[in-house]
């Protein structure tokens, strides 16, 4: 099939270049051959030259037309023979006439057959024009050989304008990685698929889903590639809009969660400030002694500086959590991410009489992710756990544990968040991650649903299970970065 398409491409190129003088030339040639054959006494098979007449007209005529020309040439040969050779027993002349007749017959049959395959190729090429996809064929030098109607409509260049140009120059292609990478994969696997950014004739941009297939020549060398492009600009745009809406929703719920943590956050900021003030008071007294105690005073000032820094770190962390930027994925240490998030909830947890059992083994592989979004998930799970234990008998234990799971495909970093609350009914378990489903009286029912989409956007998974003895366990797993950085 691929071979046919490429032949069809070449055909459409060559058909535009055939000369309009061919019929006249054929007529003059035919007449000349007849006159020479009939009027000169040459002992040659002059009539063989009728083959040229048939060939000249073959491209122009329909199949009956070719047959008619062939028959006319045969008739003319016979007339010349009968006119010049009255003696039927001239065997040499008869043989020459027979050679000419056979040659004309063979040329006619070949032309007919060629005509037929050309017609079927043309109809196949016409089929390519029916598809809405833009189809183009380019050679090893990236020169366009074929350009279908879909391509004309999509890009605005006619086939005549596009054929002969370099694809990447004409369409100003932007590749996901690089042209070299795509080309290397095409040569390697004989196919390539991906999203490309192209520019139309009118200068507007579009995103296409592009599929390339490679054809090799007889010697096995890459000859030409067929490229099928599908306009996905609109789909891309709605995907982007969905993405934005999602990230805005995540931001809104994150800010709402921070609102619930106000008391805890105030405590986190107030503690270092209290230490600064008290150190300051102590410093004054060390200096106002009858004999000022400078080493003690210096120590208090050093502690003031350290606590001032500590307060500003808390603020920076809060500012990061409240920001509404697009997520930014980079390698990060899950243990640090978890510990920072837990710190913001220390007071909230303590106030509820919840004891933290933290188990973060050293040397965990890094994960790729957006720190703020992952902290949002952790804060959400911990808040749920703390609130679930509000009315539970002591000991109220919040377990946060990390580990590595060596899967078949790749290692995952696991995080477990468990509580010792009342747990939920088994039939609720399945609905837990559905939006607007809440087991809390004032819950919006968005926390877990957003947590799940955040984790899934990180190529991870999150699940809920009943706790070992009581309560609930949430398990989340994120793909580990392959090279562990020490």
């Amino acid at each position: 099939m691929r071979r046919h398409l490429l032949s069809a491409a070449r055909l459409s190129v060559s058909s535009t270049s055939s000369s309009p003088l061919a019929p006249t030339l054929a007529l003059v040639l035919g007449a000349g051959i007849f006159l020479v054959d009939t009027l000169t006494p040459l002992d040659m098979a002059v009539a063989v030259l009728y083959v040229a007449v048939v060939m000249l007209l073959a491209d122009r005529l329909s199949r009956p037309g070719i047959l008619l020309v062939g028959a006319a040439c045969i008739a003319l040969t016979l007339i010349s023979f009968l006119v010049t050779h009255h003696v039927p027993d001239d065997p040499e002349a008869a043989l020459r006439a027979l050679v000419s007749l056979s040659a004309i017959a063979v040329a006619t049959v070949l032309s007919l057959r060629n005509r037929q395959s050309n017609e079927s190729l043309r109809s196949q090429a016409a089929l390519l024009d029916l598809t809405h996809d833009a189809v183009l064929v380019r050679n090893a030098e990236d020169i366009i050989l074929y350009w279908n109607r879909g391509a004309e409509e999509l890009y605005g260049w006619s086939a005549a304008e596009a054929v002969g140009r370099k694809t990447s120059e004409l369409l100003q292609t932007t590749f996901p990685v690089s042209r070299e990478a795509a080309q290397a994969q095409l040569l390697d696997e004989a196919r390539w698929e991906g999203e490309l950014r192209h520019t139309r004739k009118d200068g507007s941009h579009l995103v296409v889903s592009s599929r390339w297939s490679l054809r090799h020549d007889e010697r096995g060398l890459p000859a030409a590639a067929m490229e099928t492009n599908n306009d996905i600009t609109a789909r891309k745009r709605s995907e982007d809009a969905l993405h934005r809406a999602h990230s805005e929703l995540a931001h809104v719920t994150r800010v709402a969660t921070l609102g619930q943590l106000t008391a805890s956050i105030a405590h986190e900021v107030n503690q270092p400030l209290a230490a600064v003030v008290t150190n300051g008071e102590a410093c004054l007294r060390w200096l106002r002694r009858p004999e000022p105690d400078v080493p003690e005073a210096v120590a208090t000032v050093e502690r003031m500086i350290a606590n001032g820094r500590r307060a500003s770190e808390v603020i920076a962390r809060l500012r990061a959590l409240a920001r509404g930027d697009d997520p930014e994925h980079m390698p990060l240490h899950l243990d640090e991410t978890v510990e920072e998030a837990l710190m913001l909830m220390d007071w909230e947890r303590t106030r509820n009489g919840v004891v933290l059992a933290l188990d973060m083994p050293a040397g965990l592989p890094q994960v790729i992710g957006d720190k703020v979004q992952l902290q949002q998930v952790i804060i959400n799970l911990v808040m749920n756990a703390v609130q679930a234990m509000e009315h539970s008998p002591a000991p109220r234990i919040l377990t946060v544990r990390a580990g590595v799971e060596h899967g078949l495909a790749q290692a995952m970093v696991q995080l477990e968040v468990s509580d010792t609350g009342d747990g939920i009914a088994p039939e609720q378990l399945a609905k837990l991650f559905e939006p607007f489903h809440s087991t809390k009286p004032n819950g919006m029912g968005l926390g877990l649903s957003i947590s799940r989409s955040i984790i899934e956007a990180h190529a991870g998974r999150i699940q809920a299970e009943p706790g070992v003895e009581r309560g609930m366990t949430f398990l989340l797993a994120l793909p580990a970065v392959k090279e562990t950085t020490s």
Partner: protein, 124 residues
Amino acid sequence: MRQPAMVAIIDDDEQVRTATASLVRSLGLAASTFASAEDFLNSPRRPDAACVITDVQMPGMSGIELQEALRADGHRTPLIFITAFPEERVRRQAAAGGAIGFLAKPFDGTEMIACLDHALGGIA
């Protein structure tokens, strides 16, 4: 020479207790710090404490619970409470248990000194 009176300082925040201890020592008093009420109750230095400065909200036993435990054992050790969340309900509970002071964090140094003065009978 008389040993200076010892003040026990209980707070789960290390920076707050170090700063408070420095303030107490700057007054010429001795200070011992404890990360939790339980640590203090189980400490051999507990009988030496002439006064206790304690946080209210802590993991495990709270400051109010500590006061109750001390009173139940018949100890009259004066207590000064410091808290980031000075709620009226808690203040009344503290006062009912005989607390000398109930200060909001960050507390005023002069107020703290006045409380210590009161607790230790003019030693500071």
